[in-house]
């Protein structure tokens, strides 16, 4: 029973991080109908930005509340800028081209980022994973029994940050002018443009928002894992994508639910079956969902409009 509870906690903690990344996929898919393959790798770049900031700050400053806030701010702003550049120079010129060209471009960017960061030329970090500094001193907060169930402080903190970001996003999408514009573009960007909505700006801002969320999630992941490597974007990004599809891609609360489900399933498979199979779980689950309920839990398979 205690073991079950512990797995439940770990699964939820992992799920909230996937959820933040999945939100980026789902938002971009919502406005552009494009799977932004490079999303996970943008996240990876953000984590390296945070890593560099922590390095510059030094051991004392990075553990303070201000230091942590600064690390998050640098990573999120940097990623927003990166997202903006990618959208402006790689995706926007292809917006009216066949969808395949944009997809290939996205795959190309993802590949260039994840393998470019494996070089050890100039400022690039090289292929081997590095230890991410413990910006949040890990302590055990809630212990039930004799260490049967342990809740770490970073689990609670990342859960709170994730929930706060999600609530903020929900507010942004459904209660603000920008959110209304976003939903209009998602519905039909040509008609939205006719209604006077600056679609280019809305799409660019959506990209920046998604990238910033990814950077935040990536930092939480790196703190949990205490490591950062050029390939983390590929793996976390893929799992988050799986989560977004499980929830029904384009559906904001669906992405969160899908991510929590995926986090739990992964944790239980690792805990009760075999830990070496962890990376295969998500994709097996994805194929299963596509077979049984191809639109995801909340999405529906819309008839393609001509």
């Amino acid at each position: 029973m205690a073991q079950l509870l512990q797995h439940l906690i770990n699964g939820l903690a992992a799920g909230t991080i996937y959820a933040l990344v999945a939100l980026g996929y789902t938002m971009v898919y919502g406005v552009l109908k494009l799977i932004n393959f490079a999303h996970g790798d943008v996240m990876m770049v953000g984590v390296y930005m945070g890593y560099a900031t922590a390095f510059v700050l030094g051991r004392e400053a990075r553990s303070s509340l201000l230091g942590v806030a600064l690390i998050f701010a640098v990573a999120m702003l940097g990623c927003a800028l990166l997202g903006f550049l990618i959208e402006r120079f790689a995706y926007r010129p292809l917006r009216e081209k066949p969808r395949l060209t944009a997809l290939i471009t996205a795959i190309g960017i993802s590949f260039a980022l994840s393998y470019g960061f494996q070089l050890d030329i100039g400022f690039l970090p090289g292929a081997s994973p590095r230890a991410f500094p413990e910006v949040i001193e890990p302590t055990e907060w809630l212990i039930i029994g004799d260490r049967d169930v342990v809740v770490w402080n970073w689990q609670v903190i990342s859960f709170l940050i994730a929930v706060a970001l999600m609530v903020g996003l929900q507010y942004l999408v459904f209660r603000t002018r920008f959110g209304r514009a976003m939903r209009a573009v998602s519905w039909d960007h040509r008609v939205a443009a006719l209604m006077g909505i600056p679609t280019d700006r809305v799409i660019a801002l959506t990209f920046m928002l998604g990238s910033a969320l990814a950077a935040g999630a990536g930092l939480l992941y790196a703190i949990k894992d205490t490591s950062v490597s050029p390939l983390m974007g590929l793996y976390v990004g893929l799992k988050a994508f799986v989560a977004a599809v499980i929830g029904g891609i384009g559906h904001v609360p669906g992405a969160v639910v899908g991510a929590l489900v995926l986090g739990l399933v992964e944790e239980f498979v690792v805990g009760y079956a075999a830990s070496t199979w962890r990376d295969a779980v998500a994709f097996g689950f994805l194929i299963l969902v596509l077979l049984v309920k191809p639109g995801g839990l909340f999405g529906r398979v819309a008839a393609e409009k001509v």
Binding site: I35, F37, A90, P93, L94, K97, P98, R99, L100, T101, A102, L103, I104, T105, I107, G108, I109, S110, F111, A112, L113, Y115, G116, Q118, L119, L234, L238, F241, V242, V245, A274, T276, W277, D279, A280, A282, F283, G284, L286, I287, L290, L291, P294, V301, E304, V306
Partner: protein, 355 residues
């Protein structure tokens, strides 16, 4: 009964007299074969490089059936290659001692090799069906993610199975493969791809590529055609894997990663989505390029550092190349045309017609 008059066939203008045209292929093939023979006797590295090139051609041409002709996008071709490599490799390892008594040893080896290849290819095709059916019922970009995930699953399965040598890989697979066998399969896959492109089956694939909704409205069974082309493609990827496993000293999960898949994707995109000869040209080019760069850097004597980094640097360059290609020339080198459509005027062309 009167025969309907045949339509006048335009006389192909060609500098070569008609009487010579029949033996033209032989005239081309003889020096190529002679070159082959010479290269092979010269160095084992040439044999290896030639075999790798052939395997890459098979992979690129087969991937082109899905990515180019059908307009779907698979980025897990190396996963199917791995299935073929491991299945046929394990089969050959276990049948090492077996010899068909009614055949000479060499012939019996080749028969067993062919059987192993076919089993590996069929296993890969079965995996292709398993992966393709759910994802091809949906919009095409699901296929990209699912094939990528499939590659990961294969890696995890191999790393957790004793029969496949776990992370260490399989070694000691009998070295049955030869460039002749590899290029026999190159011939077969090119034949299949060209025949598909020229048949009504191929017309349906083009239709799906151009506009899936319109194709469906015209009565094309889109899911069926997509899954079929995917299965054919994975079959040949499995064959390529099997060939690969029988001429390299060891196969391990590292040989069939996402990097390998991307390499094949770049070949197809560079050659032109839908162009079989384009895929062949790009595969040859991209196989020889790293070797050429390496020997160039070695010759320049840059203390071997750059030469060592060729393998590392080429990966981000592949990514940037895809982006640059999409932005400047999304149709690739040849677009949907074949090499004889873009050759200069003075070389005799095939008549434009079907395919």
């Amino acid at each position: 009964m009167m025969e309907t008059p045949a339509l006048p066939v335009p006389e192909a203008r060609s500098p070569i007299p008609a009487s010579l045209r029949g033996i033209f292929p032989v005239l081309v093939a003889l020096p190529v074969l002679a070159l082959f023979q010479w290269l092979l006797s010269e160095s084992p590295f040439a044999v290896y490089l030639l075999s790798v090139m052939g395997v890459n051609i098979i992979l690129a041409v087969s991937l082109n059936i899905v990515n180019g002709m059908t307009g779907q996008f698979s980025i897990g071709h190396a996963g199917f290659m791995a299935v073929g490599a491991y299945i046929s490799g394990v089969l050959s390892l276990n049948l090492k001692e077996v010899a068909l008594s009614f055949l000479p040893v060499a012939a019996s080896d080749q028969v067993l090799f062919t059987v192993a290849l076919l089993v590996g290819g069929l296993a890969a095709a079965a995996c292709g069906f398993l992966v393709g059916l759910p994802s091809l019922r949906l919009r095409g970009d699901y296929l990209a993610i699912v094939t990528l995930g499939f590659g990961e699953i294969i890696r995890v399965v191999v790393q957790n199975t004793d029969a496949f040598g776990r992370a260490l890989g399989l070694s000691g697979i009998p070295q049955y493969s030869s460039p002749y066998m590899v290029y026999f399969w190159v011939f077969l896959v090119v034949l299949v791809a060209r025949r598909i492109a020229g048949s009504s089956h191929g017309r349906s694939l083009w239709a799906i590529r151009e506009d899936e909704v319109a194709a469906e409205a015209m009565g094309v069974d889109t899911t069926g055609y997509k899954v079929r082309s995917f299965v054919i493609s994975s079959f040949f990827a499995g064959i390529a894997g099997g060939l690969f496993a029988h001429f390299v000293p060891i196969i391990n999960p590292g040989s069939f990663t996402f990097v390998k898949s991307m390499e094949i994707v770049v070949m197809v995109v560079l050659g032109g989505l839908g162009s079989t000869t384009g895929a062949i040209v790009a595969a040859i080019f991209l196989t020889l390029l790293p070797e050429g760069l390496r020997s160039l850097f070695n010759a320049l004597g840059t203390e071997g550092t750059l030469a060592q980094k060729v393998d590392q640097i080429r990966m981000p360059i592949y990514g940037l190349m895809l982006v640059a290609l999409m932005l400047s020339r999304p149709q690739g080198l040849f677009g949907m045309r074949e090499i004889w459509d873009v050759l200069p005027r003075w070389i005799p062309r095939r008549r434009r017609g079907l395919s």
